[in-house]
Subunit: 475 residues, 2 copies
């Protein structure tokens, strides 16, 4: 189902937007559905997404989150119950109004997120302090009628995501859970080799949350991508949805809640951060195909080489291996396709390799070739995957650091953002200062670093600063 290479040459990565769209269309998704903002996930794209989600779901399971499934439809009265929530989502909700020819008694929203329907049920599930903490999560689609320009894997109208929701007896426990959420997502991003900055957002907190921390990564064109959101809801929703519990000493108390979600956006980051002029470069852990065996036969030894390739595939069955034995295309065309698909290692078996009793391993990330004896290939592959992951992590980190510019004046903020960098600056913590900087450079003040602080002087007002703020273009 992969399109043939002859169709169109992939633009260079320097032409980022054209490169991104053409590359994902060739490999991950098909946008040609007759509905703006909706995507078809092709096999490679969907498997890559699921492999990311499996990492996340495993981490959620390890930390006591139980997997559930709640309905896609939410009746209007539930969605409208929490005022900040509906204010935040009312412009971007898809409404189901009819079943067959009949008008529904009450219209229903396609979930833009699931708080309202989940918490309506939690009210029934939670009775006493013994039921707490209660942590659930689900992987599902959510729907947003985006009025902004949609972009595949960045801003879609049907979003594939995982949302986790936790319930606690005290505010302190909920605050501690925020750290757990951050840790879970950090582990995901670490294994995708995607560097992120965790930012306490200043404006645009999740509709209904008291506070939000979000991981951002920087794209080549200098915009940052919000890769998820970890929210402290306090008792806002529990008061509205009446989610109460009996405390150990017999009082009635509202639960403290947190929620966090991550969508298909990590796929966009994998493409943008690791990809190169030849196409995708995938971390071995999540690559749907970890290595591809390409036989390079000549008529005289065709059978022998094919048999050698098949035997090798059998030996490597602990990995996700493909044997590309198609006859209608040349080895060169195969290289082109598999490189574009980001397969971490290509294993070539030609006459010389066969003679020497081995195969040539070619790394996707560096292009380096290495002859390895057949009985050593499995062990070498294992090791090579570690080396590839390490190299991808290092490269991504260097690239990421190169896109952050520490600045000391509003003028330098302006310079940084116009040269496609993320500006990092000292900030006093006052919202007026943030607004002033934002206005002066006509670029969003995203928030402050969740971990790092500073002792410099606020770029806005010149007073002593506590925080490290970020200003940059956003998707």
């Amino acid at each position: 189902m992969q399109d043939r290479p002859k169709e169109k040459v992939l633009p260079p990565k320097a032409d980022f937007s054209a490169w991104y769209h053409e590359l994902i269309r060739r490999t991950l998704v098909d946008q040609r559905v007759p509905m703006t903002g909706f995507l078809v996930y092709k096999p490679l794209g969907y498997e890559l997404f699921l492999n990311c989600m499996h990492i996340l779901e495993d981490e959620l399971a390890k930390t006591g989150h139980k997997k559930c499934y709640f309905p896609t439809l939410i009746p209007e009265h539930l969605l409208k119950r929490e005022e900040h929530h509906i204010a935040g989502f009312s412009n971007e909700v898809f409404w189901v109004t009819h079943g067959g020819e009949s008008k529904l008694e009450e219209k229903a929203a396609l979930r833009p997120t699931s708080e309202t329907i989940m918490y309506e049920m939690l009210k029934l599930w939670i009775r006493s302090w013994r039921d707490l903490p209660l942590k659930i999560h689900q992987s599902c689609s959510v729907f947003r009628y985006e009025t902004k320009h949609t972009r595949p894997l960045i801003r879609d109208r049907e979003i594939l995501w995982n949302e986790a929701h936790t319930n606690h007896a005290t505010a302190k426990e909920a605050a501690a859970q925020i750290d757990v959420g951050i840790k879970i997502y950090s582990e995901l991003f670490r294994r995708l080799a995607i560097p992120v900055i965790w930012i306490d957002v200043v404006a645009g907190v999740f509709a209904g949350a008291e506070a939000a921390v979000e991981p951002y990564t920087i794209f080549p064109e200098g915009r940052v991508l919000e890769m998820g959101s970890v929210n402290n809801l306090g008792q806002r929703f529990s008061r509205v949805f009446d989610v109460k519990f009996k405390t150990e000493d017999g009082r009635d108390e509202y639960v403290y809640q947190t929620c966090y979600g991550v969508s298909e956006r990590p796929l966009a980051a994998i493409v943008a951060v690791h990809g190169d002029d030849k196409g995708l470069v995938l971390p071995p852990e999540i690559a749907p195909t970890q290595a591809v065996i390409v036989p390079i036969p000549y008529e005289a030894n065709k059978k022998k080489i094919l048999n050698g390739a098949r035997a090798l595939k059998e030996k490597l069955k602990g990995f996700r291996i493909e044997l590309d034995d198609r006859e209608q295309i040349t080895p060169g065309e195969k290289f082109y396709e598999w490189e574009m698909a980001g397969v971490p290692v290509r294993i070539e078996i030609g006459p010389k390799d066969l003679e020497k009793g081995g195969a040539t391993l070619v790394r996707r990330d560096t292009g380096k070739k290495e002859f390895v004896k057949t009985d050593k290939i499995a062990a070498r592959l294992e090791q090579m995957f570690v080396e590839i992951f390490k190299n991808m992590t290092d490269c991504a980190k260097r690239y990421h650091d190169s896109k952050i510019k520490a600045v000391k004046s509003i003028e330098d903020v302006k310079k940084a953002v116009t040269s496609d960098m993320l500006a990092q600056l000292a900030w006093c913590g006052e919202l007026e200062c943030a607004a002033k900087i934002e206005k002066a450079v006509d670029t969003p003040f995203i928030g402050k670093d969740h971990y790092q602080t500073t002792k410099g002087k606020c770029v806005g007002c010149g007073k002593p600063a506590k925080f490290l703020g970020y200003v940059g273009k956003m998707y």
Copy 2:
């Protein structure tokens, strides 16, 4: 999140409908969402469902089906393009008409199934005979605005399912694929220990299909449940959606298509066929918890017993094991809960077990107890799972056979269906005869056995019969 046993006593299985609803509410799903026909899958229910789906998805992968994801929304013009299809679904489609405050330019259906949107894309993906066969599948929700009485896990308005779609160069290959589809589903049902009869349906073929084969299982109250559907679409959809390919000799030809789907209904069958007065009984392969360790401590040896239980859990980590060390409830209450949840084996560790250096294994299916030395437990558990699966398969088969009544007259058909049996009869193959029998007994003539034939005389007309027909109440 499991409700406490004290709430309500589970009705006996003989009171099937009450038993079924109370049991699934306590264990698998929560129907108390404020929308008729929609369910919340609780952790046990959802994990059980996913475990079934994993078996299916593995079989689909092994037979060359690639996993994709297509949008939930289908624009009206696509859904309406194939006339039989829209005729079959028009009364039961949920329509999305608004995004935020704006009316959509074209309304969109929540997919009732995905043929129309998939085939619109296949038109772009398939070009030549080299692209065939092309087999894809997806696991997703589909939506049907059911006007019939809804029943949880049997007739829901949001259905969790897997749908597979295949494309072939010839009618012969498509016909062969039907057998592959049947084989895949048969393997699933075999591993769930659910006996089914494969029936070529006479009426109510999938909207747009040329022919359908469906697996049916029999419920205690004598109704049969359709557990899926394997459909030969011929060129009906490919002609309408213009899915063409260049043949090897250069002609343009429409592809031949098949599709098959299976939903959450296997969960209902697992409950109904295997369950007993104490609750669920789950096959070990799919049980979210395969064995539960229940320590039975007395004050004097509490610590020792708990340590023994913990050490045992560690030893058994190759299985899905829970250690129930809750202090607030008694071992008896724990037994009650885990039995209701259908956990295949309970492992009790009491003072005597500890003294003898082992634990007592109790089978959920038979209630039999067996003392096993600690270092033999892992091996014994493995073996016991095989024995449990064998026993569940045998019991289900005996039960299933006992619900089928071979009959020779219309009067006997009537007797069979009024005593909650499925009537099996000789049938000449004429639709008028089927209609005549159906009318006479006021019960559906479902179809004919896909595998077995007969040499008897048709119950409808007395002429020599070729087929084995089935008449029975349906859900």
